[in-house]
């Protein structure tokens, strides 16, 4: 058997940088003592940096978006059109964190809010943006209060606002509360929601960089993505690119939940072996049970069976080869007692509940999927229901404005694909054929 290889190097002695072990780091004075706003000062006040060189440094670091899609951040920034003083441009920091199984940005906002602000300011400088919106989901009420308080302090100290550090660069940060809809985490509906409209995703093209918030050029980045930026400035893109898996580098927050002894958010390099994360980082399976299945990056990434994760590391390439995605690295661990059909029913219900209802396939399809999965879970299903489910997935995937339909269809498709016997076992016994031809629709 091939030896398990981690791409995270000597991860056991890894020093945390996004969430360093510093008491009260969320307070501005503590943050200042620990290199706080040093990167911003360097970018704004030294000749070494101009907007292009900041973007290039981020490109060099190989930073990929941490919000799920994993798009190269520096490249995204360079899509912004040339600066026109008459046209405003905006930055949106996406803190809507609503994918089931994902809870990493919350930690950043709770324990290191100034790193978020600093990241937003440097990104704004790199794209010559004067207004940054921080969109936080409404359920994070406590952290919104905290961040608002800390933002006030940063304004008072002159880190945010007009003429920051005497450099002539001005940038406002506005914290916006969401009202609790999953779809607002999708970038274009986030913009609609920010504008005060119904959070319907928008057709692309035009992309946000051409026509974003209020029709102006806009870049949208995840909270965790932006917190990496000050580190890249401080320690260099090259340092960053050498952390973890080379094709998908950097520190990453693994949100591990489910049937493990020590669930929580853990900062480690990318490219960690999944088995290391479960057995050592998260303290092993709860009650010594066997691992049955795992979702690597939030509920919409394809589910993996225990036998599919042998030797798989947490980075885009390795997970793609294993048949899944990195997503938000919010890992759901399920032990052998889990009823996969019941779990799928819960997930399907979530997507039905959260479909915004704009596009036909998603609006109608998610409800239908839930109906069938519920019937299967209750033991009233028939084998042909599985065929209808897969058919409906095909009818939904890639045919809607945003990716919610895909996110709703994938759990169904891959669960049936990888745990078919469990579905068949739950079908009504009289409907399981003994070798006959299946009744089709």
């Amino acid at each position: 058997m091939e030896e398990k290889k981690t791409k995270a190097g000597d991860w056991r002695s890894y020093q945390r940088v996004l969430l360093p072990p510093v008491k009260d780091l969320h307070k501005l004075d503590v943050y200042e003592k620990h290199e706080g706003y040093k990167a911003l000062r360097e970018v704004l006040t030294t000749d070494k940096w101009d907007p292009t060189s900041v973007t290039n440094e981020v490109k060099k670091s190989g930073l990929k978006g941490r919000g799920g899609a994993g798009f190269p951040t520096g490249l995204k920034w360079s899509f912004m059109p040339p600066v026109d003083p008459n046209i405003p441009r905006f930055l949106c920091c996406n803190g809507d964190e609503s994918e089931p199984g994902t809870f990493k940005d919350r930690q950043l906002m709770e324990y290191n809010p100034h790193l978020v602000f600093e990241g937003m300011l440097i990104a704004s400088y790199a794209m010559s943006i004067k207004t940054g919106y921080l969109y936080i989901r409404g359920e994070f009420a406590d952290w919104i209060t905290l961040m608002e308080e800390e933002l006030e302090k940063a304004y008072a100290k002159g880190y945010v606002g007009k003429n920051i550090m005497g450099s002539g660069f001005s940038c406002e940060i506005v914290i916006h509360k969401g009202a609790g809809a999953y779809i607002c985490g999708e970038e274009s509906s986030l913009m609609s929601s920010l504008e005060g409209q119904r959070a319907y995703p928008r057709v692309k093209p035009p992309f946000p960089a051409q026509k974003g918030v209020w029709g102006y050029p806009t870049t949208i980045n995840n909270v965790e993505t932006l917190t990496c930026v000050p580190l890249i400035i401080n320690k260099g893109g090259e340092w960053f690119s050498k952390i973890g898996a080379s094709s998908h580098p950097g520190p990453v927050l693994y949100g591990i939940s489910g049937h493990v002894n020590r669930p929580g958010v853990f900062e480690y390099p990318t490219g960690m072996l999944i088995s290391d994360l479960i057995d050592e980082v998260a303290g092993g399976m709860r009650g010594g049970k066997k691992l049955k299945a795992l979702i690597p990056g939030g509920s919409s990434t394809p589910i993996l069976r225990a036998d599919q994760i042998v030797g798989v590391t947490m980075d885009a390439d390795s997970l793609r080869d294993a048949g899944s995605m990195m997503g938000t690295s919010g890992m759901l661990i399920m032990d052998e007692d889990v009823d996969i059909v019941s779990w799928l029913r819960r997930i399907t219900q979530f997507y039905h509940h959260e479909s915004c209802g704009q596009c036909t396939p998603c609006r109608e399809g998610t409800g239908w999927l839930e109906n069938i999965v519920t019937r299967l879970d209750e033991g009233n299903g028939q084998l042909r229901d599985l065929d209808i489910l897969l058919d409906l997935c095909t009818q939904m995937e890639g045919r809607t404005v945003c990716a919610l339909a895909d996110a709703a269809a994938w759990p169904i498709r891959y669960t049936i694909d990888r745990f078919r016997s469990e579905f068949e076992a739950k079908c009504r016994p009289e409907n399981v054929p003994s070798g006959g031809v299946l009744e089709t629709a």
């Binding site: 057709v203 509940h353 915004c356 036909t360 609006r363 109608e364 095909t394 009818q395 404005v401």
Partner: protein, 572 residues
């Protein structure tokens, strides 16, 4: 010119054009629901999906890569694209359901989704028969359904406002109605409420959908979710015939269809004319049709007693024969057609009277900068172009009271209702009245009363406030036989009116009245004045060559969308 290949056929196109619009204009009937040419394309119904490809460009040379036959290699996008939200680009290749199984399948799948929560109550739905969802399902949809669960329940029979009723379950969430109030009428009175599969359009709390253009959402609704409170449940589409004509409620002359069942107007809907009303029609244009159906006369009368048409014509000529021309006042009408007013002016000239006047019906502040005007008549401009002038009310009243008028000849007007004079004031004046409705308040004062055909029963021309001459076409029949009228109805009604192929010809509700271009020549004949025209077509032909103010306005030229008249000779 840039070109694009649609299903292996190469087309040229101009400027920026949406793929869907391009397909529709070239007779590729791509199914769609949410797209409307006048509004933004949110691409939410997902029905117009097509395959879109572009030539593969060689990065080094910047030219398209060619295959072994020398044709550019087309690279298709991995996902199907909504044709409503994409602009055509030179060299683009698209495949619709005519050549792509994938597109065909996508259209079928989408219709299956649309129908699972649709109530399928077509047998009692007013939209049935002209329902895009119904039509497209027949053309492209699946047979039967695989859906075995309870449909989603939503509010039904909700009065959104005075004129529009909502059935939430029928709604397919295309958001056309919402976009209409946001982008076209700008009233913002509708929005989508709830989420996901429970979505439906609704007014914001405390708001009534009462804008003056609210009923347009009924026409643009691609299902029966929004129906007219006024006309719903009154007739099925296939029980009605429709006539392309123009509205007569205001001076804009919005183009419309008159829907007729059993010789009664049932509904008025907009007809597209990009020069006048585009796709829209004001609510007042739609609702003011009861005057065509109700309180109609049963025949001509002399001093209130019903008589034959011949006797009535004779009585009119008796009134005029001995009269001093200078003491006869002719009153034309901004409700009547150009032809009828023209004949009236000829009659006036024949008896030596002055050019007729007309009565203005303006209501300051009623108009908006869109389809409603201060002027509540359809043809004031036509009267002006004939040389008629609006009556000076005080002057006319004093002349009546001072006994300066012996005969008052009123065509299709109501001076008493306008307050110009009272019935008692007219006791010493001989009054000849052509009238539409028995509610006409001048009727008790009339010595001879001639029932006149309304705008939906006659053939004629109206000139709107922008100087556009447009044709009025007959939608319903009147009692008696007239060759010209029958021919015109046959030409403009799709149901081959009066022929053996006319399924809906009905003898009921025929009104005993005559259009002015029939009654006025008869009266002239009694006076031995020649007024020989075969019909309004010839009157207009004469007028268009004889009078510069109507130059070019022949029936042939006016056609469906009217003729813009020159500005000369008009004093508004």
């Amino acid at each position: 010119m840039p070109n694009i290949t649609v299903d292996n056929e190469t087309l040229e196109f101009d400027g920026t054009q949406r793929l869907l619009q391009l397909c529709l204009e070239t007779d590729v009937d791509l199914p769609h629901f949410c797209y409307h040419p006048a509004m933004s394309a949110p691409a939410n119904c997902r029905q117009c999906l097509i395959e879109v490809g572009m030539p593969q460009i060689n990065r080094e040379t910047g030219k398209p890569n060619l295959d072994e036959n020398g044709q550019p290699i087309i690279q298709f996008m991995p996902k199907l694209q909504t044709s409503c939200s994409m602009d055509a680009v030179d060299g683009m290749v698209i495949r619709t359901h005519k050549s792509s199984e994938l597109v065909k399948r996508a259209q079928k799948d989408n219709l299956e989704f649309l129908l699972i929560n649709h109530p399928l109550d077509c047998p009692i739905c007013d939209q049935a028969g002209h329902c895009p969802l119904q039509n497209q399902t027949y053309k492209h949809g699946p047979e039967g359904s695989r859906f075995e669960f309870r449909k989603v329940g939503k509010p039904k029979q909700i009065d959104l406002g005075p004129n529009v009723v909502l059935d939430g379950e029928r709604c397919i969430n295309c958001t056309r109605c919402v976009r209409f109030t946001e982008e076209i009428s700008k009233s913002n009175q509708l929005t989508i409420v709830e989420r996901g599969v429970r979505n439906y359009p609704m007014t914001p709390p405390g708001v009534e959908f009462d804008e003056p253009y609210s009923m347009n959402v009924i026409d643009i609704c691609p299902v029966g979710a929004l129906t007219s409170k006024d006309s719903r449940f009154r007739a099925r589409t296939w029980e009605m015939s429709k006539t392309a004509s123009i509205s007569t409620v205001n001076a804009r002359g919005s183009n419309c269809y008159y829907w007729v069942k059993d010789n009664k107007i049932v509904e008025i809907t907009p007809r597209t004319n990009m020069d006048v009303n585009e796709y829209w029609l004001a609510d007042e244009d739609r609702l003011d049709y009861h005057k065509f159906n109700d309180n109609r006369p049963s025949g001509p009368t002399i001093s209130g007693a019903e008589v034959t048409w011949e006797a009535a014509y004779k009585a009119v000529s008796d009134c005029l024969k001995g009269a001093d021309g200078s003491r006869v006042q002719f009153v034309g009408s901004a409700y009547a057609t150009v032809e009828d007013n023209y004949l009236l002016s000829k009659l006036a000239a024949a008896v030596g009277a002055a050019t007729p006047i007309y009565l203005a019906h303006t209501e300051a502040g009623h108009g908006d900068s869109w389809l409603r005007t201060d002027d509540r008549t359809p043809n004031a401009q036509g009267c002006e172009r004939l040389g008629f002038r609006a009556a000076n009310a005080a002057d006319l009243k004093s002349r009546i009271l001072d006994g300066g008028i012996d005969v008052l000849y009123v065509m299709e007007e109501d001076p008493v209702a306008l307050g110009l004079c009272s019935v008692a004031d007219l006791s010493k004046v001989k009054v000849v009245l052509h009238f539409y409705n028995t509610t006409n308040q001048t009727l008790p004062a009339a010595d001879v009363a001639i029932p006149a055909a309304t705008a939906v029963e006659t053939v004629g021309t109206l000139v709107n406030d922008q100087g556009l001459a447009q044709r009025l076409r007959p939608a319903k029949s009147i009692a008696g036989v007239n060759r010209t009228l029958s021919m015109e109805i046959g030409k403009c009604r799709a149901d081959r009116h009066g022929t053996p192929f006319d399924k809906w010809y009905d003898e009921s509700n025929l009104i005993n009245c005559q259009p002015g271009w029939i009654s006025l020549p008869k009266i002239a004949a009694e006076l031995n004045v020649a007024m020989n025209y075969k019909g309004p077509r010839n009157i207009m032909a004469e007028l268009s060559s004889a009078n510069d103010a109507f130059a070019g306005a022949t029936y042939e030229a006016m056609g469906e969308f009217g003729v813009r008249l020159s500005e000369i000779g008009v004093t508004a």
